[in-house]
């Protein structure tokens, strides 16, 4: 029983992390109908920046106050970095392809994903202590355990809730609510929703569609940067290939919840977290990817609009 409860908790925290990445995916898809394959790799680069900054700030040896300040600074810097990079990529790569056939930006996104992964590989070769001196660029990098993993219920308790779990759940919730409020109530958020619904009509209503799309990339990138720091602090390992797996899971989450739908992405992330945990518990760890992707295929076949999505017509 305790084990099951623990699995639920693990599913919840993991699900929150997937959901954070999924939000960026779903926002871009909602507006451009572009599967942004590079989103996962953007997340990866942001996690490399976070680790670099941890090394540069010497956070591993800092006191509590310094640690909190340092982490806040890192969240802000990674967010800004990923937001800026995402916006730049859109400006240089996707924007010129707005009127091209749909395949073109998708293939470009795959190309960008390659480029970012390769940059991540090079980044891992930096001669810094946090990268193991850069001797083995491709090896997994340890992200220091800066948030306590001690059991808050006492060392002997059967159930385990740690400060780390709380950090993930609370900070993700705050970001998600803020994002929801932003999209729901601000002028820019309304413009985003309008553009997502019908770019042409939005343009006719006086919305600067290009600016709105740029803003979407900014926000999506910022979320990826934030997710990267949380991921690093929670999972504690990064490597230049984490973008692929996490991107895939995030995309699955986004599709599951109904792509383009923000609460849907969160729900999708949670479902994936729970499915993963129960697949490990009841089926066996080796089947995890098959279970997840099998589920994805079934959902797309039987409910392509996702759990919360409304049926989107394909634009002809």
């Amino acid at each position: 029983m305790v084990t099951l409860l623990q699995q639920l908790l693990i599913g919840l925290t993991n699900g929150m992390v997937f959901a954070l990445v999924a939000l960026g995916y779903t926002m871009v898809y909602g507006i451009l109908e572009l599967i942004n394959f590079a989103h996962g790799d953007l997340f990866m680069l942001a996690s490399f920046l976070a680790l670099t900054l941890i090394g540069a700030f010497g956070l591993e040896t800092a006191g509590t106050a310094g640690l909190v300040l340092g982490l806040l600074a890192i969240v802000v810097l990674s967010g800004l970095f990923a937001a800026g990079l995402n916006w730049t990529i859109d400006r240089l790569v996707y924007r010129p392809l707005r009127n091209a056939p749909k395949l073109a930006p998708l293939v470009s996104a795959i190309g960008v994903s390659f480029i970012l992964q390769n940059l991540g590989l090079f980044w891992g070769g930096l001669p810094m202590a946090v990268f193991g001196g850069g001797n083995s660029a491709a090896a997994p990098k340890s992200f220091p355990n800066l948030v306590s993993g001690e059991n808050l219920l006492g060392p002997g308790a059967a159930l385990r809730i740690t400060a780390k779990d709380l950090m993930v759940v609370i900070s993700s919730l705050v970001v998600m609510v803020a994002l929801y409020a932003f999209v729901r109530f601000t002028r820019l958020g309304k413009a985003m929703r309008a553009t997502a619904q019908n770019p042409l009509a939005a343009r006719l209503m006086g919305i600067d569609v290009d600016r709105v799309i740029g803003a979407t990339f900014l926000v999506g990138g910022g979320l990826a940067g934030f997710a990267a720091v949380i991921y690093g602090l929670y999972i504690n390992t990064i490597n230049f290939q984490i973008g692929y797996q996490n991107g895939l899971y995030a995309f699955t989450a986004a599709v599951l919840g109904g792509i383009g739908n923000i609460p849907g992405a969160v729900l999708g992330g949670l479902v994936i977290g729970f499915v993963r945990a129960s697949s490990d518990q009841f089926i066996g760890a080796q089947w995890q990817p098959a279970v997840l992707f099998g589920m994805l295929i079934l959902i797309l076949v039987f409910r392509p609009q996702g759990l919360l999505g409304t049926n989107v017509r394909e634009k002809v």
Binding site: I110, F293, L300
Partner: protein, 369 residues
């Protein structure tokens, strides 16, 4: 020596009939050692042109399969490696000693496309109606599922060990003797080389005719405007299904050749997402929907991996010595950067590919304007 206009005419006919390129490969066979020898003198590196050509041909068959799905029918397929793997493992299961139902190479070669095609039908039937990018994700997911299932069904597939040894193509003794004079490897290579060539030529001719057939025109109509095509009486689902399962079958055929050439199915992780993406890169770089483009793409991609990359690595080693752990000094570490940039630039400036078919080119530029 032919005079200038004559050689030009020869070039022009090559443009029109890319299958002629393959005839070139046919006559290349006896020259292979000579070419290797020349290349060895020039580069100081054994390029193994024959073996690489065989790799190129098998890869090109796989790329043609994907081209049928992506280039002709416009179905974005991100899991071609799954069908490739099904072909390879079918060959393995029906040829290795440990199973009682040995069919030998020729039987397996016939069965591999059937199995892969069936898998294509099973996957395609419920999903073919999905919108383009959802189909992409379904195929991607299917690719992962197939890989994991092959890895985990150890009783059948031997899991990470892979199935081996897969026997070389069987020939009657008199024929084998005539070809290789008792050297079984030589016979094996000879047969594989010409078999792959034959399959490739057959496919190119087949697809060439397909482009001009009613079915081919349906493909073009679907690509350009599905709604209009449907109104004109084309059944999009049926047409897409044909392309999808036929493409899967051809990929299975390529898998059979691949496994036989390696004499093992290799480990299941060989057939992962990156492999699928490589084939997609090949088709896109060469030219979606263009036969000559796909052939060129396979050639360019594999030459980059098997010839350019080792060559540059060798030059770097010579310049800085080896044993360096500096990530920048390993040329193959730059590969994704180069491919990624190529894909991005291609989509921006030449979406029709290096050597496009005129029809696809017209379609693309029509939409751009």
């Amino acid at each position: 020596m032919p005079d200038a206009p004559q050689s030009l005419r020869w070039l022009r006919s090559l443009r029109r009939r890319p299958e002629l390129l393959i005839v070139v490969a046919l006559f290349l066979y006896p020259l292979l050692p000579v070419l290797d020898w020349i290349a060895g003198g020039v580069f100081g590196l054994d390029l193994q042109i024959g073996g690489n050509l065989l790799n190129v041909m098998i890869f090109a068959i796989l790329a043609l399969a994907l081209n049928l799905q992506v280039g002709y029918a416009g179905l974005l397929q991100l899991g071609i490696a799954a069908f490739f793997a099904i072909g390879a493992y079918t060959t393995g299961i029906f040829t290795v000693e440990k199973y009682p139902f040995q069919l030998g190479f020729w039987g397996a070669l016939a069965l591999a496309p059937v199995m892969a095609g069936l898998a294509g039908l099973v996957l395609g039937a419920p999903t073919i109606r999905l919108r383009g990018d959802y189909l992409a994700i379904v195929t991607l997911g299917f690719g992962e599922v197939v890989r994991v299932v092959i890895l985990n069904m150890e009783n059948i597939t031997d899991g990470p060990r892979g199935l081996n040894p897969i026997p070389p193509p069987w020939l009657p003794d008199w024929l084998a003797g005539a070809i290789g004079g008792g050297d079984s490897r030589r016979v094996g290579f000879f047969v594989m080389y010409y078999l792959a060539l034959l399959v490739l030529v057959a496919l190119v001719v087949l697809f060439r005719n397909l482009e001009r057939s009613a079915l081919g025109r349906s493909f073009a109509a679907l690509r350009e405007d599905e709604l209009v095509a449907a109104c004109m009486g084309i059944n999009p689902a049926r047409i897409k299904m044909i392309a999808f399962s036929t493409g899967a079958a051809v990929a299975g055929l390529a898998g059979a050749l691949y496994a036989t050439k390696l004499s093992t199915t290799a480990e299941p992780n060989t057939y992962d997402f990156t492999y699928s993406i490589m084939v997609l890169c090949c088709v896109i770089i060469g030219g979606l929907g263009s036969l000559r483009g796909v052939l060129l793409g396979a050639f360019v991609l594999l030459s980059f991996d098997n010839i350019v990359s080792p060559l540059i690595t060798k030059l770097i080693q010579r310049a800085v010595g080896f044993g360096s752990t500096n990530v920048l000094l390993q040329f193959s570490n730059w590969r994704w950067l180069i491919f990624g940039t190529a894909l991005v630039l291609m989509m921006r400036f030449r979406p029709e590919g290096l050597w496009p078919s005129s029809r696809v080119k017209a379609e693309l530029h029509h939409e751009e304007s």
